[in-house]
Amino acid sequence: MTFDFVEPIVFAMLSVGVIAAGAAVVLINRITAAALLMAFTFLCMAGMFVLLGAETIAAFQVLIYVGAITVLILYGVMFTKSGDRPYALFFQHQTPIAAIFVAAIAIPVLLLAFSFNAPAPPPRGGDLPGLATSVFTDFAFPFEIASVLLLAAMVGAIVLTKRDEAEGADTRRRERR
């Protein structure tokens, strides 16, 4: 008895999870629920990476997306307590136009998506040796640039959210007087 039937079932469950949770992120109005559903989408996506045989990428996905980015977004949701405005401004009835625009591009692309087929079987084993070889040979310089980018983003986020101490102290002094 073979277990070939398991892979399509797992793929179907994961794709339903990805698409349903992704649609719920867009459609649901409670922002905290949307953030948690986004985390669920990322988790299902990690399952798809495992199904493709890319375990390292799946581990990165769980660590970075489900861990770091979801927590960051949740903090953003908590700091900015506000719902979506239920109405649109009178000159911004853009939802139908946006729907038509997206559908006009999406339908040909979705029809085209099934035309791809795999010319080669996937290589045996995990993706870690190939990934490590690429990162430390051909892509070593971009990898270092990426670390500099992360440092710049960290400094930028701190500068953006830091309160202006000098200005605050000045105001307080003026109030005291």
Binding site: F60, T80, D127
Partner: protein
């Protein structure tokens, strides 16, 4: 074995869901979430092509690592901008934030 087209289809569907979300939703944090969905859909396409086209050195997966880096930087700086705008005026609605429109 799952055909490659199925993965690309799921990736495209998730990408357009995120695209519609960016266009339709007006909350800045939700727009950031939808951008993350689009980036993740692109990651799925990268990994699927990289695995199924038999690349020996996993070029596509390397790009996925870079996308992770960009996404983390983007969400950190984006939330910083949203929070500093929120401190200025307590709205997260992108239609209400027009201080820099000129």
């Amino acid at each position: 074995m799952i055909p490659l087209g199925a993965y690309i289809f799921v990736s495209a569907v998730l990408f357009f869901i995120g695209c519609a979300g960016v266009l339709v939703r007006r909350n800045a944090v939700v727009i950031l979430m939808c951008v993350e969905l689009m980036l993740n859909a692109a990651n799925l396409a990268f990994v699927a092509f990289s695995r199924r086209y038999g690349a020996i050195d996993e070029r596509g997966s390397v790009f996925v690592v870079f996308v992770f880096v960009i996404a983390a930087a983007e969400v950190a700086v984006g939330l910083g901008i949203v929070l500093s705008a929120y401190r200025n005026r307590p709205v997260v609605d992108v239609d209400e934030i027009h201080a820099m429109k000129g």
